[in-house]
C-alpha cells in the first residue's frame, strides 16, 4: 500500500515536470479553466440579480453548493484523464503492457496524468465557496467541519467512480463513450443548484440510480443547517456521503469484472 502511494507520487511528479515544460500553455490552460467555470457563476449571479431567490434558496446558499461540488470535482478531474483514454489504450494494444506491470491498472491509469490546469476549477470553486461562507451563518462545530471534509472527499471518489465506469465500458466498445459525459459533466452542471429544485424523476435518478445527490446535496443541507424540503432526516444527511464512497468501491469491483472479460484487440 505504502509502496503504491510512493509510486503514485513518482508518477505525479513526472507528469507535473512534463507539464511545467510548457509553462505558457499551463498558465493559459489554468486561466481557461478558471474562466470556463467562472462564466457559469456569472450566469448564476445575473439570474439572482433578476429573480432574487431560487425557490427558498438564497444566492449565498447556491454559491455554497456550487463551490463545494466544483472543489470536489476539481480533484477528480485532475486524476481521471487516464480513464478517458482507456478506449485508445485498448485499441492500440497499449493496455496489454499495463496488464504486464506488477501494479494495479487503476493506479497506473490514475498515475497517467495529473492534470494541473484543473487548478483553475479548484481556485474558482474554492473562491466562491469561501465567499459564500462570509454571507452564510454556518455553525462550524467539529462535526460540521468533519462533514465538509468528508463530503469533498467522498464527492471526489464518487465522480472518479463515474470515470472508472466510462473506462470499463471501453473494454467492450474499444472507444471512449462521450455519451457518458452527460452523467459526469451534466451531473456537475446540475449540482450547482440544490437537487430539490429539479423535477421528481430527475431527483430520483440522481439519488437512487446514480447517488450524486448523496455527495452534492444531502450533506450540504446538514452543513448549512437547513431542513430538507424533500424531508430527509439529519442522520441520513450525515451518512449520505458514504453512499458516494460505496459507489466508488462498486465501480472498482465492476472494473475488475471488466478486466476479466478484456480481450486484446491484437494490434
Amino acid at each position: 500500500m505504502m509502496n503504491a502511494f510512493a509510486l503514485y507520487i513518482n508518477y505525479a511528479t513526472l507528469s507535473l515536470r512534463g507539464q511545467m515544460q510548457y509553462r505558457v500553455s499551463f498558465i493559459l490552460g489554468t486561466l481557461g479553466q478558471l474562466l470556463g467555470t467562472g462564466v457559469e457563476f456569472v450566469g448564476i449571479l445575473a439570474l439572482f440579480d433578476r429573480f432574487e431567490s431560487l425557490s427558498q434558496w438564497s444566492l449565498a446558499e447556491v454559491a455554497f453548493f456550487y463551490g463545494l461540488v466544483n472543489v470536489a470535482f476539481a480533484f477528480t478531474d485532475s486524476l481521471s484523464r487516464g480513464f478517458d483514454h482507456v478506449g485508445d489504450l485498448v485499441r492500440t494494444g497499449e493496455f496489454d503492457r499495463m496488464l504486464l506491470r506488477p501494479r494495479s491498472t487503476v493506479l497506473q491509469l490514475i498515475g497517467k496524468e495529473f492534470t494541473l490546469k484543473r487548478l483553475g476549477r479548484f481556485l474558482q470553486g474554492g473562491g466562491v465557496l469561501i465567499w459564500s461562507t462570509l454571507y452564510l451563518d454556518i455553525a462550524w462545530s467539529p462535526w460540521v467541519m468533519a462533514l465538509t471534509a468528508v463530503t469533498v472527499f467522498c464527492g471526489a471518489c464518487f465522480f472518479l467512480g463515474l470515470f472508472i465506469n466510462i473506462g470499463t465500458l471501453s473494454f467492450w466498445t474499444t472507444e471512449t463513450l462521450e455519451l457518458m459525459n452527460v452523467l459526469t459533466y451534466g451531473g456537475i452542471e446540475a449540482s450547482k443548484y440544490p437537487l430539490a429544485i429539479y423535477r421528481p424523476w430527475f431527483r430520483r435518478f440522481f439519488t437512487m440510480v446514480i447517488p450524486m445527490g448523496c455527495v452534492t446535496y444531502f450533506p450540504v443541507l446538514a452543513i448549512l443547517g437547513r431542513t430538507d424540503p424533500l424531508g430527509t432526516s439529519l442522520a441520513f444527511q450525515y451518512a449520505a456521503p458514504l453512499f458516494g464512497l460505496l459507489y466508488f468501491i462498486l465501480s472498482l469491483l465492476i472494473w475488475r469484472l471488466g478486466l476479466r472479460y478484456y480481450r486484446s484487440t491484437g494490434s
Binding site: 510548457y22 462564466v39 431567490s53 455519451l179
Partner: protein, 268 residues
C-alpha cells in the same frame, strides 16, 4: 462485368461508410449530451421563474425555446480553432499552404466554413425536431419570423467563421497552441447568450451586450425566431451582424498577412 473493376469502388464506398458511422457515433454522443444539458438548464430556469411573480423581459416559454435553439446550434459557436489548420501549424505543413496560388485568407475561410457547418447540420436538425415535438420548443412566431431568422442565421455562420479563422491564426504565434482559444471560448459562450439568455442580464449590461459582435451568434437570431425581436426590427440585427463580419474579416486578413511575414516553420 469484371469483378476486379468494381472492387476499388466498393472498397472506397465501405471505407467512407465506416468513416461516416464513426462520425455518427460522435454525433449521437453530442446529441444525447446536449439533450441532457438542455433539460437541466430548463429545469433550473423553471425553478427561477416559480420564485417570482414580477414580469420578466422574457417569459418561460420563450426561454425554453431559446435554450433548445442554443443546444441545437451549439456547434456553430467559434469555441475552437479549425483542427485541420491546427495540425498543419503543429506539423509544419502550413508552409505548403503558403505556396498555394490562392488567396490564403479566402482559402482558410472556406475551410473553416465547412468545419463549422457540417457537424452542426448533422445534429441540429434531429435535435430541433425532438425538442419541437416533445420538449416544449415552440415553432417560429410567423412565416416572416422564420425568414428573418434564416437570414440572421446565415449572418451568424459567417460571423462564427470569421472568428474561427482569427482563432486559427493565433495558433501561428503561440507554439503552445490553443491558449487564446482557451480564454476566448468561455467568454464568447457567455456573451453570445449560451449561459443564460442575454435579456436576463441586468439592465446596465444590455448596452454593452448589444454593441459586441457575439449576440449576433445566438441571441439575436434566436429572438427573431420567436418574435421577441419583431420582423420590423430585423434590419438592425442584420446590419449589426454585417458590420461586425466586415470588421472581423478585415482583422483576420490583416492578422494573417502579418503572421505570414513572421512565420517560423517548426516542422522537420
Amino acid at each position: 462485368m469484371n469483378p476486379s473493376f468494381v472492387l476499388p469502388y466498393t472498397a472506397v464506398l465501405s471505407a467512407r461508410f465506416r468513416m461516416l458511422l464513426q462520425y455518427r457515433a460522435a454525433a449521437l454522443a453530442g446529441f444525447v449530451t446536449q439533450i441532457g444539458w438542455g433539460a437541466i438548464r430548463i429545469m433550473a430556469m423553471e425553478a427561477f421563474y416559480r420564485s417570482t411573480t414580477a414580469p420578466q423581459p422574457m417569459n418561460l416559454e420563450e426561454v425554453v425555446t431559446y435554450v433548445w435553439l442554443g443546444q441545437a446550434l451549439l456547434g456553430l459557436l467559434p469555441w475552437n480553432p479549425d483542427t485541420e489548420i491546427r495540425n498543419m501549424v503543429r506539423s509544419g505543413t502550413v508552409a505548403y499552404e503558403l505556396v498555394r496560388p490562392v488567396n490564403l485568407y479566402t482559402y482558410w475561410f472556406s475551410r473553416s466554413l465547412a468545419f463549422r457547418i457540417a457537424p452542426t447540420l448533422m445534429r441540429s436538425i434531429p435535435l430541433a425536431m425532438l425538442a419541437l415535438l416533445f420538449f416544449g420548443m415552440q415553432p417560429p412566431a410567423s412565416p416572416e419570423s422564420l425568414l428573418v431568422w434564416l437570414a440572421a442565421t446565415a449572418g451568424a455562420v459567417l460571423l462564427t467563421t470569421a472568428l474561427t479563422v482569427i482563432l486559427s491564426i493565433t495558433l501561428m504565434w503561440t507554439i503552445s497552441g490553443e491558449g487564446v482559444a482557451f480564454l476566448a471560448a468561455p467568454i464568447i459562450y457567455l456573451l453570445a447568450g449560451m449561459v443564460i439568455p442575454l435579456p436576463l442580464f441586468p439592465e446596465w449590461a444590455q448596452f454593452i451586450l448589444e454593441m459586441l459582435p457575439f449576440r449576433g451568434l445566438c441571441d439575436a437570431p434566436f429572438r427573431l425566431y420567436m418574435g421577441h425581436i419583431s420582423v420590423a426590427e430585423a434590419w438592425a440585427v442584420l446590419l449589426h451582424q454585417w458590420i461586425w463580419i466586415f470588421i472581423l474579416v478585415g482583422l483576420g486578413a490583416w492578422m494573417l498577412s502579418r503572421a505570414k511575414r513572421r512565420l517560423v516553420v517548426q516542422g522537420g
